[in-house]
């Protein structure tokens, strides 16, 4: 334990505050910027206090969009992003829970081989396999669809691996007790494994949701129809889309709105996994 004198306490706080400031300041700027008029930015200096145009700016991005730049209203993009992120998250959780269940609890030929194959794909992020994946999705006619946006991103070695590790910490007697109690494999999965994995599921939900929400390259590649634009790529379209000077105040409003859902997910899910942590025990 470090000695707790006032000087060291002062220093620790200084460092922590500095760290927080570094992270928070750009976010603060974005929020401030989204409340000013278009002209404010062209003067070259960024104001540090909120302006008066906040409501108008948000109303404009949410409902009107910028037809000139070819971007749909923000609520469409938010909805698209939400659908994509949720599909990816739930899909990933379902697939990885089931595959981890299979790998840990069933003896089938080449079990370890399959585990290692899954594990190897950890080394291949979306970007590496993006060209062949695009080809497959295009051939299946899934361009410009929610299926095309989410299905290729659903397979997850990370989550499979994490669930496998967790399942292996559950004592084998638990399975045996369930077998004696007349629970078949699926009942065991539903009644015992799922409730015990709640904390892991919540944690992975947060991570996976943010992963899905922040997808940029993939939606950029496979959507050409503004109906399916997601918000993260939409921001980019707003900045570079038109010939005119970017409307920074509107871009910033979009940025703020794009950052909200992940924050809400974290706030909401955190309650759940704190609850999970205090109530379950292996």
């Amino acid at each position: 334990m470090v000695e707790n004198n006032s000087w060291s306490r002062f220093m620790t706080h200084c460092i922590l505050i500095l760290g927080v400031a570094l992270v928070v300041f750009p976010v603060y700027l974005a929020v401030i910027a989204s409340t000013h008029e278009a002209g404010t930015f062209l003067s070259g200096t960024l104001p540090l206090l909120p302006g008066s145009q906040g409501l108008e700016n948000y109303k404009q991005v949410l409902f009107e969009g910028r037809s000139r730049a070819g971007t749909p209203p923000l609520h469409t993009m938010l909805w698209n992003s939400f659908v994509m992120a949720m599909t990816i998250t739930i899909g990933k959780l379902l697939v990885s829970l089931l595959s981890a269940f299979a790998i840990v609890y069933f003896r089938f030929p080449f079990r370890m081989f399959f585990f290692w194959v899954i594990f190897l794909t950890l080394m291949l992020p979306v970007e590496v396999r993006i060209v062949p994946t695009f080809q497959v999705v295009a051939d299946l006619g899934m361009l410009n669809s929610f299926a095309g946006l989410s299905i290729p991103l659903i397979a997850s070695a990370t989550a499979t691996f994490l669930f496998r590790q967790f399942f292996m910490t559950i004592p084998e007697e638990m399975l045996e007790a369930a077998r004696v109690d007349g629970a078949g494999p699926l009942k065991f999965f539903k009644d015992i494994l799922l409730p015990l994995s709640i904390t892991n599921i919540a944690a992975l939900f947060v991570i996976m949701f943010i992963y899905g929400w922040n997808q940029y390259l993939w939606p950029l590649l496979i959507t050409t129809d503004p109906e399916y634009y997601t918000i993260v790529m939409g921001i980019q379209r707003m900045v570079t889309g038109a010939d005119a000077e970017p409307l920074w105040h509107l871009v910033m409003a979009t940025v703020v709105l794009a950052a909200l859902p992940p924050i809400l997910v974290i706030l909401f899910m955190q309650r759940l996994f704190v609850k999970g942590l205090t109530e379950t025990e292996k």
């Binding site: 638990m174 007790a177 077998r179 109690d181 007349g182 379950t280």
Partner: protein, 351 residues
């Protein structure tokens, strides 16, 4: 309730490792059988084979009239208590008890009636709404018992259920298990490595060693007439003294030795039957060197060394006060001797 018939049961793991072999055993309806043996002797494997958690590679297993070799555990109508209890941590005690019934399609009312009755019997009614982690070790143990009993199984299997409890609680629970079994008269198999538990609980004791049955019998039979050298050493604490016959070279022993079966070459004698003064009956005599004295209240032990360097343990009531005199005579009443043969490992006076 049912009898169990085990015919030439065996378990072979891959790589020709035989965990259990040639088990023949008939268990009567309502009997309390204890499987006892050192760790790795296959007693848990045997129990798990009966439960259906391990596959049976040889032989037949009948519960009641049914051959159950290929049935799932849940279809065998057995219940099991695990060493670490294996309670479902996310369920309340009530749901833990009721889970097996629910899976068997019992109605909600029936589950409630049964769970309440069992909870009352095991005195866990106040904890029904708690989760297992909010219970003490002894309470968890009761819940584990309750979960097994609530289904009213034909056979009750217990795998070292008391080994996670402290010594005092273990004695108390041992007694309760015994009373419970006497009351319910469910055929029970109990695995333990603790020979005191084995002796006190069993109607019949099955001593296992290296995957084979060494001896089957009532606890007192096994104690009083061990069939093999292994059983002689394993049952009883401190364990039986085994003395090679070559120790008895003194001439006055010779005519006594000739009364024993001819193949005898090892004599076993319990520590509490060695004497320090010559008894009226016929007794072998050894001139020993005094070693350590271990005072332990009612049961103190004296260690001595025979002329050929064999260690003997004697149970004595009082300190024999022989520290200054390093040699003393130890008498072995001939009627208390267990004669064994080294090469066959068996008792020589079996008719």
């Amino acid at each position: 309730m049912a009898s169990i018939q085990i015919n030439r049961l065996g378990k072979m793991y891959t790589g020709d490792v035989k965990a259990v072999s040639e088990i023949n055993l008939t268990i009567k309806d309502g009997e309390f059988i204890v499987l006892v043996g050192p760790s790795g002797c296959g007693k848990s494997t045997l129990l798990r084979m009966i439960a259906g958690l391990e596959s049976i590679t040889e032989g037949d297993l009948f519960i009641g009239e049914r051959r159950v070799n290929d049935l799932e555990p849940s279809e065998r109508d057995i219940a099991m208590v695990f060493q670490n209890y294996a309670l479902y941590p996310h369920m309340t005690v009530y749901n833990n008890l009721g889970y097996g019934l629910k899976n068997r399609g019992f109605s909600k009312d029936e589950i409630k009636t049964r769970v309440d009755a069992i909870a009352k019997m095991l005195e866990i009614t106040p904890f029904l709404e708690r989760k297992p982690k909010a219970l003490s070790g002894g309470q968890r143990q009761r819940v584990a018992m309750g979960r097994a009993l609530v289904r009213e199984p034909k056979v009750f299997l217990l795998d070292e259920p008391l080994s996670n409890l402290d010594a005092k609680l273990r004695v108390q629970m041992r007694l309760e298990i015994k009373q419970l079994q006497k009351r319910l008269k469910t055929t029970s198999l109990y695995v333990t490595h603790d020979q005191l538990e084995a002796m006190t609980l069993a109607d019949r004791l099955v001593v296992l060693n290296q995957g084979r049955i060494e001896q089957v019998g009532s606890p007192m039979d096994v104690y009083n007439r061990p069939d093999t050298l292994f059983v002689a050493q394993f049952i009883g604490s401190p364990s039986m003294n085994l003395i090679p016959i070559t120790e008895f070279q003194q001439s006055d022993n010779q005519h006594l030795l000739s009364q024993l079966p001819a193949t005898t070459d090892i004599l076993g004698i319990r520590p509490d039957q060695l004497l320090l003064s010559r008894p009226k009956e016929d007794a072998l005599c050894l001139d020993c060197q005094v070693g350590l004295f271990e005072p332990a209240g009612a049961e103190s032990h004296l260690y001595v060394k025979t002329p050929l360097g064999q260690d003997l343990t004697l149970r004595v009531d009082i300190d024999p006060q022989v520290h200054e005199n390093p040699r003393l005579s130890v008498y072995i009443p001939l009627t208390k001797v267990h004669p064994f043969n080294q090469s066959s490992q068996r008792r020589t006076d079996i008719q």
